[in-house]
Symmetry: C2
Subunit: 212 residues, 2 copies
């Protein structure tokens, strides 16, 4: 079942969370769940859940609820988690190294194939068995290897230059950890993780919690 109309970003952002809860339920051998029970677990209203899942054809059945395994499989397919992704990490400092070691990702079809850095002290090292290559070789590497996702973990001054290279090199998506906004070619998907903005939002709420 494929969706036939545009799904809002808010719904899309909730899908990985639905999937995470379904995964837990499967681990606990639960077979089915009503939208009401699901609501209590996940913290969205039952009507929100029904509405969200209706976007994808509605897999629930009156009086039965949702079959957990089939909903999990369906959401995984919608997210594109039923295929493999080849990834590279550019910028092999702290965040880059943490990500390559974050083995969680490898289990789920996301494979880091190579790392890149400009720092001669890092180039040639193997991190979690992935070789750190010289950034100079990145355009040639991308010509020889079809890479789906580039993870940018460089300082902000280098991020746009790297983004230009990987866009020209045919990646489909960029996962950007550099604390800056980058421009990407049309047809390339960009997802930002701006850690300092997240921390600043936390600081805001700490300072305003008496008003909230």
């Amino acid at each position: 079942m494929k969706e036939t109309r545009k799904i809002s970003n808010a719904v899309i952002r909730r899908l990985p969370r639905y999937r995470r809860y379904l995964e837990e339920l499967m681990k606990n051998d639960v077979q089915r769940i009503s939208s009401g029970e699901f609501s209590e677990m996940i913290g969205y209203t039952a009507s929100q859940i029904r509405q969200d899942l209706n976007n994808f054809g509605g897999f629930g059945q009156q009086g039965y609820g949702y079959n957990i395994r089939s909903l999990y499989t369906e959401i995984s397919a919608i997210l594109g988690l039923d295929r493999e992704y080849k990834m590279i990490i550019i910028g092999s400092g702290n965040i880059g190294q943490a990500l390559v070691n974050y083995t969680n990702y490898f289990k789920s079809g996301f494979h880091v194939c190579g790392m890149f850095d400009v720092n001669p002290r890092l180039v040639g090292l193997r991190i979690n068995d992935i070789e750190v290559m010289d950034c100079e070789t990145l355009p040639a590497y991308l010509q020889e290897n079809k890479i789906d996702i580039a993870i940018i973990c460089t300082p902000k001054s280098a991020a746009q230059g790297v983004a230009d290279i990987v866009c020209a090199g045919g990646v489909q998506g960029i996962w950007n950890f550099a604390p800056t906004d980058i421009r990407v070619s049309s047809g390339v998907v960009l997802e930002n993780v701006h850690l300092s903005e997240s921390l600043h939002t936390l600081a805001y709420h700490i300072n305003h919690k008496d008003e909230e």
Copy 2:
């Protein structure tokens, strides 16, 4: 100037981004900017910018625009970046180590005072000059040290237990990197960074970009 009414979460999430652009402008010695010019840089509409900043009393002047330094100072104060935060990191694996090394944070009033782990191979190490202590000592540490923010980087199975300890220990906020939802005591602020959900959102858009 303090805001007098509830600011929406969407506006709050945009503030760190405004501040980041203003910081860039200051570095380039720009003194003032109109909402139209600001719009072109940051990608929000001019009317959105005026509306957002009006929430805080509106610092722009007709025919002059915004004074960059004073807007920066004001937004920093609103976010609570005019004070210091003492932080601890619980879970000293890859992500925890990356965060303590991410010196960006130290420059801006966020100080990591200690790290904790259950792994005897990590306890006793110093990472970026911060000692890794045994998680067993965490309750006593929190009694002796006033900590504002706990950063949770443990596996998901340990996250709720750690959250309970730091809430009891008087932290004001939790920055959660564990891939699970945790419950916090009332009065404690929670901000999640769910990396795998971000990556799954990227995967969704890669697989659906022809429809978008």
